[in-house]
Structures are given as C-alpha cells and as structure tokens.
C-alpha cells in the first residue's frame, strides 16, 4: 500500500485540518511536530504571507547621488520586512553583490561591490540604487520589523 500523504478532515486526535506529509511519511501516524516529515500542517500559526511582490527598474543617475525609487503599497499597521535582489547581466544576485553599474551618461563602472540600500514605511518602499541595466525584485512580507 502506498504511503498516506494528504489528510483533509479529522486527524487521529480528532482535530480538523489539512496536512501534507513529505514522501515516505504517513500523514496520519508520523510525528507532526517534526518539520522534516511534513510540508504543510494547518496547525502551523507562524506562516508568513506575502503582501506584494514585483520588479522595478533601478533609476538612472550619477552613482554618488542616486534618486529614490518608490514602491507604494496598501498601508500596513507596521513597517514590513522586505527582501530586495538585483538582476543584472541575466543573473539574479544576492543583495550585496559584485557587478558593474552604468550611469546616466552611459559610462559603465568597473566591477565593484554593490549593496541595495532601501528604507521601509507602512505604505511605501524607498530604494536607492542607481544603474541603467539593473532590475530589482522586491518581496514585501506581512511581518513587521
């Protein structure tokens, strides 16, 4: 018999919910408190939800005085946790990376370490990275900081 992987309804303790076990683990009898055995359990209360994701082109200007790029979003009761990553030269990069940048005159820099400075507010994200060839991925999570 194949392993039971999905449960919708009552578990053996009589609690309603949805559970999905990882391959090889029985959704009814294996330890639900072992995160290495389950991919989802509706008893989990610490799931973080995504408020907004998107991409935006980095603005073009001189490097020493980059303009602020604003990403507005519906207001939250806190400053949300945000992840931002640059995409340049066809590569998705870490948020502190090593790449070239191109200013408003078309001049391209040498390879240099580059971070993605940004600040968050309850309804807007301000990003301060200037490069004519960089796209930025942003993910705004429903978690306050």
């Amino acid at each position: 018999m194949s392993t039971r992987r999905v449960l919708i309804g009552k578990d053996l303790a009589g609690v309603f919910g949805l559970k999905v076990s990882l391959p090889g683990f029985d959704v009814l009898t294996d330890d639900e408190n072992d995160a290495n055995k389950f991919s989802f359990n509706s008893k989990w209360t610490d799931l973080v939800k995504v408020h907004l994701v998107g991409t935006i082109n980095a603005p073009v200007n001189n490097f020493s005085n980059p303009p602020v790029t604003q990403v507005p979003y519906s207001v939250l009761p806190y400053r949300p946790f945000v992840e931002i990553r640059p995409i340049r030269d066809g590569l998705i990069r870490d948020d502190w990376t090593y790449m070239r940048r191109t200013d408003g005159t078309g001049t391209t820099s040498n390879l240099q370490t580059v971070g993605v400075p940004f600040s968050t507010y309850s309804n807007v994200l301000n990003i301060e990275l200037s490069d004519s060839n960089t796209k930025l991925i942003y993910v705004i999570l429903k978690a306050g900081v």
Partner: protein, 127 residues
C-alpha cells in the same frame, strides 16, 4: 465548533481557505487566513540550500519565477566568542557572491556560489 478548512466557495471566492485555531474560515478576514489560495499573492513553493559550486535546481516552471538568494558566510570571531553563519550577505562577495541563472523559462535554475547559499523560489513569474 468553527470551520477551519474550506475547499470551494467562501463568500464570492472559490479556492482553498484555512483559518487558525479558533477562527471561522468562513468569516475570517483575508489577513487572518493561514492559507488563501484565491488571492493573487505569491506562495513560496521551494526553499533549499545550494552548496559551494555550480548547482542545477529543477523547478518545472514555464516562466522565470522570483528567486531570492541568501549567501552564507561563516564568521569566527574569537573576541566575541561567536562562530557561525551571519547575515547580511558576505562582504567579500568579490570572490564568493551567489548568483542564479534561470534556465529555459523556469524549467530549472543554476545557482553558483563560492560559499554556499540558501534560495527561496516564489510561485510567481516576473517574465
């Protein structure tokens, strides 16, 4: 007893809805729901660790998904008795910063890292 799981119609929406214990999935606000598979928001579909080197990670998408990389750097600071992985990303990225290339419109991705990194793949495409 409150309803915790709805598969089908909730109000005017259809989908899968799961509420936390003690909250009725039928009347909970979208913000209260643990799972709401009718909204146009991303769900994280995969997290993993790419070891040092070049690693091809199967994804199975037909478009390029959002991917977040978190490079690991191990710091051993004797003065503060600290040893372990640290964030933010490594300062010496010149030699070790992680990158990811999406292959064949999201069929897989190649993660290159000199230190190893964690990756998060979202179930939403940016192309």
């Amino acid at each position: 007893m409150v309803k915790r799981v709805i598969i089908g119609k909730r109000g005017t929406d259809y989908g899968l809805f799961i509420s936390p214990p003690g909250v009725d999935a039928d009347t909970a606000s979208p913000d209260q729901l643990l799972v709401n598979l009718t909204l146009a928001v991303s769900q994280i579909v995969m997290i993993g660790i790419a070891p040092v080197g070049s690693n091809v990670v199967p994804l199975g998408f037909t478009r390029s998904p959002y991917v977040l990389l978190n490079t690991f750097q191990v710091l051993n600071n004797v003065s503060y008795s600290f040893a372990g992985r640290v964030r933010p990303s490594p300062f010496d990225v010149e030699a070790s910063g992680a990158t990811a290339t999406i292959n064949s419109n999201g069929l897989s991705m190649t993660v290159n890292s000199g230190l190893g990194c964690g990756f998060t793949v979202l179930n939403q495409a940016y192309t």
